[in-house]
């Protein structure tokens, strides 16, 4: 008897998605898919809005990393306002970087400590009642507190640069509307421990040690779980360094060969195509050079550390060298190593925050520039979850006429499907009984990429996990909720 398993919604991810696994008469996985079942439509309703409203409007796509949309929108609007991203005033660029690296720190801390650590600390088969952040807080209090405070620190950086922790207004076309006061700067540099940047750098490093300890204990699982080859795409700085805010577009294949060699992202349409499939509201982007079948790629921490040549901060660079050595310098294609990569990035973000806070430009007052207006602009940024594309056109009346957004989670769409299929085949195929732990493995694979489904479909909501079993005629046989 064939069966269809549905995991809906997928939990401990941002947004609303489901997984369906179709089993054939022998209990073998015939098809496994990740569906994004929410729809938002931002690309349509920003049409007609004045262009300077875009950075504030589009960030409402998400409450987890609104800064990414805020800054990607602002970078596109810089072009429209006639100011190339490299031509911003030093204060404007550094304030935006500070905001963005603050967000990287908070988002990565949120993902590792709140969302992923329960699986890693308690195991995939642990009781769901304890396999959550409250469980972590009860049994690993110190880890949970550090996670909460790392996130808070990043949020406070965002508040100081954007005016609010969530949905601020800091970036405007051609610059920013505020810089830091010396008091705001000193709050982050000189507050008594633990709430200062030096402690945060130490804690970010400790989180990497924690991952490495867990890795040493569970090498087989962390290395082989949803391990599959793919292409990788991200922004890199012009000299090949890891850069979350600005740079050129680079893609490498599973062996590290360059597919896109540091191209200007204003021309992204030359290189990236998008395919629509009938089972998901999320589109499937691909590298045009390789075509729809072979051109899919991964983005996010694992991709960024595969594309960049080095990390421009000392402690993160040292960790990066160890990370690269593990795969002999080749791209890392192990899904669960994205946690390792993410934590190295969090350390880098903390180091960059310190560097920016100590820069005299951060308290400067030259905030905005204006140039010759253009009618089209593309803004790209490395959001916590990966490369984020914003593309707009405006008319002569300054109103937006076209918007195209390719968000990080969308870029990873095929990777989710690939990971789900691999895990389903390995852990669910031909098993006499389907357990909660097996289904959680599917979620673990998705969770590793830290998807943000609200962003990807341009509803926010949480529902209990529901699993439904269907027979081959589509009749519901069983339903379990947790």
């Amino acid at each position: 008897m064939s069966r269809k398993l549905t995991i809906e919604p997928v939990t401990r991810v941002e947004g609303h998605g489901k997984v369906t696994i179709q089993l054939d008469d022998h209990g073998k996985v015939a098809q496994a898919r990740f569906h994004v079942v929410e729809f938002r439509g931002f690309e349509r309703f920003v049409q007609g809005r004045p262009y300077w409203e875009i950075p504030v409007l589009v960030q409402r796509l998400c409450g987890i990393c609104p800064v990414s949309h805020h800054l990607a929108g602002a970078k596109a609007m810089d072009i429209i306002a006639g100011v190339a991203p490299e031509k911003l005033t030093p204060t404007a660029e550094k304030i935006r970087r500070l905001m963005h690296y603050g967000q990287m720190l908070q988002s990565h801390a949120l993902h590792f400590f709140h969302l992923a650590s329960p699986d890693l600390l308690f195991g995939f088969d642990a009781d769901p009642a304890i396999r959550n952040i409250i469980g972590v807080a009860k049994s690993h209090r110190e880890i949970a507190v550090k996670g909460v405070l790392l996130r808070k620190f990043g949020q406070e950086i965002i508040k100081a640069t954007a005016g609010k922790k969530i949905h601020g207004t800091g970036a405007i076309p051609g610059g920013v509307n505020k810089s830091l006061t010396p008091e705001e700067r000193d709050f982050f540099l000189k507050s008594p421990a633990p709430f200062n940047i030096d402690t945060m750098i130490d804690w970010a490093q400790e989180a990497i040690q924690l991952f490495k300890k867990l890795h040493a204990e569970n090498k087989d699982v962390l290395d082989n779980f949803a391990h599959f080859p793919s292409n990788h795409l991200s922004l890199v700085r012009k000299d090949g360094a890891l850069d979350f805010y600005h740079g050129v577009l680079r893609a490498v294949d599973a062996e590290g060969r360059k597919i896109l060699n540091d191209v200007d992202y204003q021309d992204y349409l030359k290189y990236i195509g998008e395919e629509v499939r009938n089972y998901s509201y999320m589109k499937f982007p691909y590298l045009k050079k390789l075509g729809k079948e072979k051109g899919w790629y991964r983005v996010g921490p694992i991709a960024r550390l595969n594309t960049c040549d080095f990390i421009p901060s000392p402690r993160a660079q040292k960790e990066f060298e160890e990370y690269k050595a593990y795969t002999g310098g080749k791209p890392n294609n192990m899904t669960l190593h994205s946690h390792w990569a993410r934590l190295i990035e969090a350390l880098h973000a903390a180091e960059v925050i310190k560097e920016l806070l100590n820069d005299k430009d951060i308290t400067g007052d030259n905030l905005v520039k204006k140039g010759k207006k253009k009618h089209e602009g593309v803004g790209l940024i490395e959001a916590p979850r990966g490369t984020l594309f914003h593309h707009y056109r405006i008319n002569d009346d300054d109103q937006v006429t076209m918007a195209n957004l390719i968000v990080s989670t969308t870029n990873n769409n095929q990777a989710y499907n690939e990971a789900v299929r691999l895990v389903a085949e390995e852990y669910i195929s031909e098993k006499p009984e389907i357990t909660e732990g097996m289904l959680n493995r599917v979620e673990v694979a998705i969770r590793a990429y830290d998807p943000c489904l609200s962003c990807a479909t341009h509803a926010l909501g949480q529902m209990p996990l529901e699993v439904e079993l269907y027979d081959s005629k589509g009749r519901l046989l069983d339903r379990k909720r947790k």
Binding site: G48, P50, W52, E53, R60, A162, G163, H167, G168, N177
Partner: protein
Amino acid sequence: MPDKIKFTVDGKECQAEAGLTIYEAAKANGIYIPVLCHFEGLKPVGSCRICSVRVNGRWMAACTQPVTPGMVIENSSPEVEEYRKAIIEMLFVEGNHFCPACEKSGNCELQALAYRYQIMVPQFPYLFPKKEIEAFPKFLLEHNRCVQCQRCIRAIQTPDGKKVFAMKNRSGRVRINVDRKLAARLSDEQAQKAMDICPVGAILKKEVGFRVPIGKRKYDRQPIGSDIEEKK
């Protein structure tokens, strides 16, 4: 010095010079009566009715009604406050007011009144009217947010005294209309004045949105009306 007029507001004995409106007389006594269509320096029209008070038991618009001796004015009774709240809520539901992305947020009088009256959800159903944005050389007119206060009609004129803004249609279809030729002659300063005098985000001077950071906007620090009440 003419004798001062004596009157009471919510039982408090007040005095004011003759010739003032109830709104002005209350303000002189450190009492805030909310206004939306009224703006100091412009001739009051009493169109929004948010300043409604009860005088000797009868409803009156405080921005147009002159204060007279012996008036017993109700300004903060539950009945008066509920009446005003309903007007504010009606203004919200009959337009499309999405504060999160509005550049007037923090400087918007309608939003500030909603905060003062602690409006969480309007008691009336949203109408979601279909309205448009009109573009002019120096500014955009966002009809979704217009509350038809007529401040722009009264305040903005060309150097030779011609009005740039006017009312069009009647009743539910009423809207602000702009003379395109005259609007093209407005200076940057006049466009800025039009934006500043608009109590909501209906008139948007081009390319200046979000220049004031959160924390420094007009109502970030103190609620609307508190400047008058501080002078008690």
